[in-house]
């Protein structure tokens, strides 16, 4: 069992409420996932340009300022950095591939959580309430976000095994369920040049969507194709740079509920995650139908 949540603002004036709304949704899903929590937040960082990398280091006293200096010397730029608990967001105009390979060569303690123009991913073992406090999630602003609370069943309770996973720039997927054809699909996608960091099934779903988007599909088209190409149980909430979507498998045995009003769209594993949101009394509440793509934002 896991809990997933998503929130997307139709009214961009509400962007400064993102952290508070996401926090309350995540904490409400604690019983579905007490072991770890994670979020993907989409926001424009003030003054940032180029790429944002969210980095994680298990070492509590990691020298982030030193990293910044090294990056500045190596790439002849002045990267921005924002440290948040065990994570830091580095903003730089350095080319992404070169940056990644430099990091893997020179900073073995660091793990790249996400890369893109607006996405930031934070995740950590521990209860969702502790996660919200530790990462000061309430303070976040942004256009949309995804969240995941995990009840570990098939692998260890570590940051590495926590969700969400990002594969490709600005793409993120949170998943409740399990895929049964992920091994073969992973091999096929690796043949197409998609890289994976773990053996996790949800990461394969994210990789599949990335591959579809690279082929020129819209998010809605990619998810429609996923219905026939992915085998297993799933409720997905998906974020892209400017899009948000929800999809359930044709059997729909994993829960999902959605709510929409003039200002926002929200999805969650259970309604209680949505019940706290301001404006819910004016929202239409429904259960997403099986094998049906719901998408907002991106065309």
């Amino acid at each position: 069992m896991c809990g997933i949540v998503g929130i997307y603002y139709k009214n961009k004036e509400l962007n400064n409420h993102l952290g508070a709304m996401l926090s309350s949704m995540l904490v409400q899903m604690s019983e579905r996932g007490p072991d770890s929590a994670g979020v993907a937040v989409y926001r424009d960082s003030p003054g940032s340009s180029g790429t944002k990398l969210t980095l994680h280091c298990a070492e509590p006293d990691y020298d982030w300022a030193g990293l910044c200096s090294s990056l500045g010397r190596e790439f002849n730029t002045d990267p921005g950095i924002e440290v948040r608990a065990s994570h830091a967001v580095v903003s730089t105009i350095a080319p992404l591939q070169e940056l990644r390979s430099w990091l893997s060569r020179n900073c073995p303690d660091l793990r790249v959580m996400s890369a893109g123009s607006t996405i930031e991913i934070y995740k950590e073992a521990g209860a969702p309430r502790d996660f919200v406090e530790r990462f000061q999630l309430q303070d976040f602003q942004g256009s949309h976000a995804l969240g995941h609370t995990r009840m570990a069943t098939e692998s260890a309770i570590t940051t590495q095994h926590s969700h969400p996973f990002s594969t490709g720039q600005d793409l993120c997927l949170v998943h409740n369920g399990s895929l049964s054809n992920h091994n073969r699909l992973r091999e096929r996608l690796q043949g197409e040049g998609i890289e994976f960091q773990t053996d996790n099934d949800s990461e394969v779903a994210a990789g599949y969507l990335m591959w579809q988007l690279h082929q020129g599909a819209t998010l809605e088209q990619a998810l429609t194709r996923a219905i026939s190409d992915l085998d297993g149980f799933f409720t997905f909430a998906v974020g892209t740079h400017n899009g948000f979507a929800v999809l359930r498998d044709p059997i729909a045995c994993k829960p999902a509920v959605m709510a929409e009003n003039d200002d926002w769209v929200a999805m969650a594993s259970e309604f209680r995650a949505i019940a706290q949101l301001p404006g819910v009394e004016h929202a239409t509440v429904w259960e997403p139908a099986p094998a049906t793509v719901y998408s907002w934002g991106e065309g």
């Binding site: 059997i251 729909a252 209680r272 706290q276 509440v285 139908a289 099986p290």
Partner: protein, 223 residues
């Protein structure tokens, strides 16, 4: 009237209070999607819940009359024994699962597996139902005023299904059957009891072809 605010007191306290009541009216506010509200009642109490509820609301209901002024999560009125449960909004999957008696009325839509394994209860849905509804339904009646999803009545026993709208693919051993005057009258009475306006003549009846039964009365002595 007893008023109970779930933003102040627990679901457990509410359920204990309801179990201790022999009669009377209750108004429950701020359910906010909480699970297991008003479960296991066994007295002719009237309970009105103002808002959306989570899982298993009104489960195992006996004799009580429970109204949810909102939508309900999975398993509303599961294993209902008697009494009435009415939902003014939509319900999630497995509504009225395994119910032995009583009446569940859904004024909106129900999602997948509505009335799964029902054993004698009546379910009236003013909207549509999702896939696999009335799966292995044994006795009782499922009335759908809108459409029914695929695999309706899969492996059904002796329950009766009435659908006014479109039906997706029928489940294994589920077939359309003749709508006799007795069925029409029974349906009219049930719609009236449920307070749902629909023309009984617009419904078609579905039930078991009785070809999947492992048990055959002619071979009773073999078991």
């Amino acid at each position: 009237m007893t008023e109970f605010d779930l933003s102040r007191d627990s679901v457990r306290a509410l359920n204990q209070g309801l179990h201790d009541s022999a009669e009377g009216r209750w108004l429950v506010s701020h359910p906010d999607g909480r699970h297991c509200i008003a479960v296991g009642l066994d007295a002719p109490v009237d309970v009105a819940i103002k808002g959306h509820v989570g899982y298993y609301c009104a489960g195992m209901n006996k004799r009580a009359n429970i109204t949810i002024d909102g939508s309900a999560g999975p398993g509303v009125a599961e294993n209902i024994m008697s009494g009435t449960v009415r939902v003014l909004g939509n319900v999630s999957h497995c509504a009225g699962a395994s119910g032995h008696g009583g009446l569940l009325v859904v004024e909106g839509d129900a999602s997948a597996r509505c009335g799964i394994s029902m054993k004698g209860s009546d379910i009236v849905v003013a909207g549509s139902v999702g896939h696999m509804s009335a799966f292995m339904a044994q006795t009782g009646r499922l009335v759908v005023c809108g459409d029914a999803g695929d695999h309706l009545g899969d492996s059904i026993y002796e329950a009766v299904i009435y659908v006014a709208g479109r039906v997706g693919e029928l489940g294994a051993d589920c077939v359309e059957k003749e709508m006799t005057p007795e069925h029409r009258q029974g349906l009219a009475d049930l719609l009236s009891a449920a307070g749902v306006e629909a023309d009984p003549d617009s419904f078609r009846r579905y039930g078991s072809a009785r070809k999947l039964y492992n048990f055959n009365i002619d071979h009773a002595s073999d078991y």
